[in-house]
Symmetry: C2
Subunit: 133 residues, 2 copies
């Protein structure tokens, strides 16, 4: 199957502008064109876009995604380097999750404080309202 840029945008969740932008910066190989010169994205293109958006979600900078994209064009010989990039990204994602988990705990603590303030404000112990915010 092949898809117009609008359809590819819909399916990938990226904007039309972003699709053209990704192509310009060589994140995406130029897709095929139809008779009228319009982009015709393949399923492979869509799969690659899907993976790219995952990498983006992990916070990988475009620079690194470009490196990965470029390695991909060099075939099997680059598989080791590609794997290394993914392993490093995996590590950074795991770290980020742990960090966010820590923030979650702090938020819970703060939220709980506010909940307590709410309870006390309903008529108990004047002077207790100013718990450090």
């Amino acid at each position: 199957m092949s898809y117009s840029i609008a359809e590819a945008a819909r399916r990938s969740g990226l904007s039309i502008d972003t699709l053209r932008y990704y192509e310009r910066i060589k994140l995406l190989d130029p897709p095929a064109r139809d008779a009228a010169g319009r982009r015709a994205y393949s399923d492979d293109d869509l799969n690659w876009l899907g993976f790219l958006t995952k990498l983006r979600t992990t916070g990988m900078p475009i620079k690194s995604m470009r490196e990965y994209a470029s390695l991909r064009r060099h075939g099997v010989a680059s598989a080791g380097r590609r794997k290394a990039l993914l392993v490093e990204q995996r590590r950074s994602v795991a770290e980020r999750i742990a960090e966010l988990q820590g923030c979650l705990d702090i938020l819970d603590y703060k939220i709980d404080n506010y909940a307590q303030v709410e309870r006390n404000v309903l008529g108990v112990e004047p002077g207790m309202e100013e718990i450090s915010a």
Copy 2:
């Protein structure tokens, strides 16, 4: 205790420029000044900076941090709104963690593919190298 801007930067993990920037955009109330007009950060300032960096880590935009900071200046009356902001942020962090967890799974899958390619490349079944990268 009070701290010079350099010391506050060291303790908060923010740069000196960022501390002045946060003050300019009203994320941080202007700290006290010493006799020579230099900033003298208090422990309270440092605690607030610590919490701000947590919020930042969660991906909260500066705009929202400013809102929270502004509410804080309005005392107890704003506690409900502040709690609501934190609850919303908590939700968004939990969502982000789940999203990252999904990416982690995909990375693991890809990494495992590469590991398999590596094993096969060492002399088995020619033609299997081009597993979709």
